[in-house]
């Protein structure tokens, strides 16, 4: 069957720079002297430590369990001793610290006994639990917990496996597909079993012929392997950034345009990265939790290439492995389009770190000076979402956040960077959008906090009012009781009391005139 392809709007064709790092096979990165494993490894929540300082852990042993249904577990990347649980700078543009478990490897790499789960003989719930317990999140960079996405009760027609890898410089998915195609297809089949899709489409950009060939061969093999199997198809797609964006890939392969505010599952499509499919296969068929990932190290280095890196390995040790050339002025995590400059090279590799680029002014020349926006509309033509980046720019610049969010839909922006790439005035548009987005989020948080404070203040005021009323009622009841008992003939009592006073102080009673 010839797959009909569609076009997404906008997009750009930047120089790919793939061959620098795609030639060499994946090499395992050596054990660093210290591993820093952050507790937040998914976009939906953090993990709770279940180890204490001094504990000996085995490779693949769970060291943090999910805090809630949205969280995912984290595991020891190697065997060793937990030396500290503290705050460490993260691979985040802020460079701020958050909680992490520090592990000192013992160098023995002793695995915990793996417990593979045969997908053919396991229930859906068991499989979902295993995916969560293996710490599997989207490996494309968004680190969305996979068990939530695949566990959605949606009628899924198409399962997409995203091997587009559209961003320049990055080749980790390319090498993964070339070398571990069978595992990826096996993972895709497990995912397929979970969502019951009719077909599996593997989309790969056509600038990766080796990966396409390897995946096609693996798909062929899997088809011949089981007769009643699903239709696994490898589809080469035109090279055009950002074809690897979820909504763009869905558009290209199925023709469906997922509208704003909806998710792909609403339209019978689910999309997973090849790395995620690979990790699912490792977790279920081999019982290995997610403790490592493939990272491309490229740019201004002597030996660019792809490495299988244990999570928690500091970026600096990875760079040392590749030999950073002189002239490097900053280090990017992620690609040149969507990545960010690392404030600190001590930051650890996490589940979403796909690429480290040593950047030099020769490779990434500093942008020419920013000029005034004349609303030429070039950015609007490049935007793959169909937004109007120049309007977003003006709104963000003037801090008119209501307009940015409400009228120009800033939260549909995927920060792909196409607009800034084509801008003839060299305006750092994405910087403005990121600023506006974080300001809007902070403002919404403030509003939520204010609403909560208002509700608590009002309920406290109501409670105080109620307590006051209750107290008044109690006093009134007591007074009424006393008055009633008086009226009921306790006058004798009063008379007796009066007599007593008179008997005690007869002089006073006679000499002091009654004040009434």
């Amino acid at each position: 069957m010839i797959q009909r392809l569609f076009r997404f709007r906008g997009g750009i064709e930047p120089p790919p720079h793939k061959q620098e790092s795609s030639a060499a096979p994946i090499r395992p990165a050596p054990l660093p002297p210290k591993l820093v494993v952050p507790l937040i490894q998914s976009s939906r929540g953090s993990a709770r430590t279940i180890v204490t300082v001094g504990d000996k852990v085995l490779k693949g042993q769970c060291i943090g369990e999910p805090e809630d249904a949205g969280g995912t577990a984290i595991h020891a990347p190697t065997s060793g001793t937990v030396t500290e649980i503290g705050r460490y700078p993260m691979a985040h543009p802020s460079g701020l610290a958050s909680l992490a478990i520090v592990l000192e490897p013992d160098g023995e790499e002793r695995w915990i006994t793996p417990e593979p789960l045969d997908p053919a003989h396991a229930s859906r719930e068991e499989l979902l639990l295993r995916i969560q317990a293996s710490g599997i999140v989207g490996m494309g960079g968004a680190v969305f917990p996979s068990h939530i996405k695949i566990g959605k009760d949606a009628a899924v027609e198409t399962l997409l496996i995203n091997g587009a890898e559209c961003e320049p410089w990055i080749t980790c998915d390319d090498r993964l597909m070339r070398e571990r195609a069978a595992d990826i297809v096996a993972g895709a089949k497990i995912l397929h079993q979970l969502n019951g899709a009719r077909r599996i489409l593997i989309g790969i950009e056509d600038n990766k012929p080796e990966a396409i060939a390897a995946m096609a061969a693996a798909a062929q093999e899997s088809r011949s392997g089981d007769k009643a199997g699903v239709n696994v198809e490898v589809v080469p797609i035109p090279t055009r950034y950002p074809a690897g964006g979820e909504k763009q890939l869905i558009r290209v392969l199925t023709g469906i345009e997922v509208p704003a505010g909806k998710i792909a599952s609403d339209f019978g499509v689910q999309c997973f990265n090849v790395g995620t499919a690979h990790a699912v296969c490792r977790a279920l068929a081999h019982g290995e939790a997610m403790i490592s990932r493939i990272v491309t190290v490229t740019g201004n280095v002597e030996r660019p290439g792809n490495y299988e890196v244990l999570l928690g390995t500091p970026v600096s040790s990875l760079l040392a492995l590749c030999g950073v050339r002189p002239g490097t002025n900053r280090t990017l995590m992620g690609g040149p389009m969507m990545g960010f400059a690392l404030p600190s090279l001590d930051a650890p590799i996490t589940k979403g770190s796909n690429c480290i680029i040593a950047a030099s002014p020769a490779l990434f020349p500093p942008p020419p000076p920013e000029q005034a926006c004349i609303r030429c509309g070039t950015c609007a033509r490049a935007c793959p979402i169909g937004l109007q980046p120049f309007e977003l720019y003006w709104a963000s610049r003037a801090k008119r956040f209501d307009d940015a969010a409400g009228r120009y839909h800033i939260f549909d922006c995927i920060e792909c960077g196409c607009c800034a790439y084509v801008c003839p005035a060299h305006i750092p548009l994405i910087d403005y959008f990121r600023f506006a987005k974080s300001e809007i989020r902070a403002r919404d948080e403030e509003h939520k906090a204010a609403d909560q404070a208002r509700a608590r203040f009002e309920s406290r005021a109501a409670r105080l009012e109620r307590e006051k009323a209750e107290k008044a009622a109690r006093l009134a009841a007591k007074a009424a009781e006393t008055r009633a008992s008086l009226a009921a003939g306790d006058t004798a009592l009063i008379a007796a009391a009066a007599q007593r006073t008179q008997a005690q102080a007869p002089d006073n009673a006679t000499t002091t005139p009654d004040p009434t």
Binding site: A372, W394, A395, R397, A398, R400, D403
Partner: protein, 193 residues
């Protein structure tokens, strides 16, 4: 056909703000945001249409028979103020939705000189009831158009690189002047008539 002329000339050629230079207070005051400009425009349209009709009735059946045309200004402003107040009370009670949209603008309209000026003009031009209504509606539509155009520009001005001394009201004034010049150009429509 002449009714259409009344409306079109009121909206474009003799735009109440840009050509007649009436109603500048709300024009400058309520044009900072598009939403509020739209609300103000709707409220003004509503009031001005009613005011034109009522003023015609007052003028034609009350003032004219007694030769009291010189009391127009006095009588109209009293009537308009009362109508605005009553409208606000009624809307407040009956339509919370409309109240949300027009709510805070209605009382401001009492002091909008366009609302007084348009009935006075139509009385001066000797319009009939339907013409008065159309003239009022057209003028208000022109007011709304001016307000919305101006608000759109002002929203953009907020983010623009305006030299410091011109920021805020000064640049808004200049913009209004340019828009007024542009609207004068509609006078050329007369050629095709």
């Amino acid at each position: 056909m002449s009714y259409l002329f009344v409306v079109l000339s009121a909206v474009l050629v003799n735009n109440v703000v840009f050509v007649r230079i009436l109603g500048l207070c709300p024009f400058m005051g309520v044009s900072k945001k598009l939403e509020t400009a739209l609300g103000m425009g709707m409220a003004t349209t509503f009031v001005l249409t009613i005011a034109s009709g009522t003023s015609y009735l007052i003028d034609h059946y009350l003032l004219a028979p007694f030769d009291l045309a010189y009391l127009r200004t006095l009588a109209f402003i009293v009537v308009i103020a009362a109508i605005v107040q009553i409208t606000e009370l009624v809307i407040h009670k009956t339509s919370p939705m409309l109240q949300q949209v027009l709510g805070i603008y209605l009382p401001l309209i009492t002091t909008n000189c366009a609302v007084l000026g348009i009935p006075l003009l139509s009385a001066g031009l000797g319009y009939g009831l339907l013409e008065s209504l159309l003239f009022g509606f057209g003028s208000a539509a022109g007011f709304t158009l001016a307000l919305i155009l101006f608000a759109g520009i002002r929203e953009r001005l907020e983010g623009a690189d305006v030299p410091l001394p011109f920021r805020g009201v000064p640049i808004a004034m200049m913009t209004a002047g340019f828009m007024s010049l542009a609207f004068m150009g509609f006078a050329g429509l007369d050629r095709f008539h």
